[in-house]
């Protein structure tokens, strides 16, 4: 039997049982759509998180004071901070040729006031390089020009204190000091839990004085290129060790390592969720098998007739297997369509999600559906091919 004829034969048979076919195809559609949508959601979440890391900047190396290490039993449970990371340490790091620029960071909380309005906000002490390192942009003015008493406001803080007025050149009070507003950050700078709209940036020395602490919260350094990141890490360790009396007492994290860790976690999570969804596909596959077993039993006489007309075993097998695979494929296509639709519609309600099912997920779902059709269709098809024609024709 030619393939096209076999296909037509299968299609006619499915059409003759359209109610049953529709139910099975629906089950397969739901199963496939489940796998596709969950895979897409997982993947979109992964893209969102890695996107957040990318938004931090390029090829960043983050230096934190102190180092977690297990020491000889309690107390202390965790290794303690041996030395503060200082502004001088930061300056020294710039000597590494692998470091393009860096921003020392001091963080604290303070009350910011203009006129009668005041507001408790996060205060970040840093340098002008903070802007390019973190890839932020300004809405107005300049970010921390080389003057003592200047500040930059986050977008929310700015509107809270100044409404629609331009704050440039006005003086605000941070803690007990006065600062001239030199710049306003563009809004939207949300990253890793720090809302940059809700902060005030001061020159790092001013912030140190304000909080009365010489230690830095962290240093964010930007390597000259992706390849230079490892060199930068080595240099940072070497320089800090030399400055800290031979003690390597800082923690160095690279943006890549952080980002790839999360990437790996979310990838595993996506696969796990897709695997759970695949169980419904398995159930749909068993339904296909059930329907085919029933079909073979009901169509014994037809199988006997086909054999009498000279169909060989492989023809009978491919006819019944064809029906199972056809049903699975119809369900698979339906599921892919529904999944793709969902992945286009849902992002309208959750803009953080990237629309569009990834190609690999669509291909994988299609493959799984095809394989399940073949796997669950084979046993009934073999049973049909093995029927004894005499008995099959005799029974009514």
């Amino acid at each position: 039997m030619k393939r096209l004829d076999a296909l037509a034969f299968c299609a006619r048979s499915l059409f003759a049982q359209r109610a049953r076919t529709l139910l099975i195809v629906t089950a397969m559609t739901i199963g496939t759509a489940g796998v596709v949508v969950l895979t897409w959601l997982g993947d979109a979440a992964r893209h969102f998180v890695t996107g957040q890391f990318d938004a931090l900047g390029n090829n960043l190396v983050i230096v934190l004071p102190g180092r977690s290490e297990t020491t000889g039993g309690a107390p202390p449970l965790l290794g303690e901070t041996a030395r503060d990371l200082t502004l001088e340490d930061a300056d020294a790091l710039l000597r590494s040729p692998a470091v393009r620029r860096l921003a020392p960071i001091v963080v604290g909380g303070a009350v910011v006031a203009f006129g009668s309005r005041s507001r408790e906000t996060t205060v970040i002490g840093t340098t002008a390089d903070f802007l390019p390192v973190r890839r932020l942009s300004l809405a107005a003015g300049r970010f921390l020009p080389d003057e003592a008493n200047v500040c930059a406001l986050g977008a929310t803080v700015c509107t809270e204190l100044f409404d629609a007025k331009s704050p440039l050149g006005e003086f605000v009070r941070v803690g007990n000091r006065r600062f001239r507003v030199a710049g306003v950050l563009a809004s939207g700078g949300m990253s890793l839990g720090t809302d940059l709209d809700e902060m005030v940036a001061l020159p790092v020395t001013q912030a140190q004085a304000l909080f009365d602490s010489p230690g830095l919260f962290r240093i964010i350094a930007e390597a000259t290129s992706k390849d230079a990141v490892q060199q930068a890490v080595t240099d940072v360790r070497r320089i800090v060790t030399a400055r800290h009396d031979g003690e390597d007492d800082v923690t160095v994290i690279t943006q890549d390592a952080l980002s790839s860790t999360f990437d790996g976690i979310l990838r595993a999570l996506t696969l796990a969720v897709a695997g759970i969804a695949a169980i419904s596909l398995l159930v749909a596959g068993i339904l296909v098998m059930n329907v085919m077993v029933v079909a073979v039993a009901q169509r014994r006489a037809e199988v006997g007739l086909l054999k009498a007309l000279g169909a060989d075993a492989s023809t009978i097998r491919s006819l019944f297997l064809g029906e199972a695979v056809l049903m699975s494929l119809l369900g698979g296509l339906g599921g892919l369509f529904l999944g793709e639709l969902a992945s286009r519609v849902l992002p309208h309600f959750a803009p953080a999600l990237q629309p569009g099912v990834p190609l690999w997920a669509a291909l994988a779902a299609g493959l799984v559906v095809l394989v399940s059709g073949v796997a669950f269709g084979t046993a009934p098809a073999l049973r049909a091919a093995r029927l004894d024609p005499v008995q099959a024709l005799a029974r009514r």
């Binding site: 030619k2 037809e302 000279g310 024609p389």
Partner: protein, 235 residues
Amino acid sequence: MIELQKVCRVFTVGGQAVHALRDVDLRVGRGEYLSLMGPSGSGKSTLLNVLGLLDRPTSGTYRFLGDDVTALDDDAQAKVRRLRIGFVFQTFHLVPRLTTAQNVALPLVLAEVPPAERQARVEAQLRAFGLLERSHHRPDELSGGQRQRTAIARATITRPELLLADEPTGNLDRATGADVVRVLENLHDEGITLLVVTHDQELGARAHRRLRMDDGRLVADVGHGLGDRRATEAT
């Protein structure tokens, strides 16, 4: 054309051996018209199934068109059925979801005849069997006589040498039964070898050579070598 030598067929039913065929010897020439009669359980259907390659003898040899077909594997036997043997059943065995034309085309589809040629042959066949205006009807829209005509048209569209009919008029009233018999005899006149299994004495008596079975043995073979000129020529 058909040569059976000491063919036996033993079934095991409930641990007991049932001899459906006992040492059946039979030679049939090309173009003969035979009837096969006998009481229920005498082995008629088993003999028909063996001749049609739907069943294998337990022992003995079956030569069909000169070849020992008992030695063939299932797929090779299927090919012989596909090209050389037609079946007509008491209950028609039409595929309910297919139209008359599609049912008649089925053997050609299995034989991988290209669609254009297929269509032409099916149309010619339907015209010859007076079914042209019913070609797009499904079996449940046909009368009993039309169903059996469709089944015969299907059985003969590959122009087989041998046509095996198992109680072809068993489910039909007298008038349509006679009509179906005419169709079968016309095919015989055109040269096909026709074997009819029947309980109907009148139908059985029409055949040129009349076989009778009882308890798995051929007990009568009347008209052998007399009835049909072509038979003697061919053997």
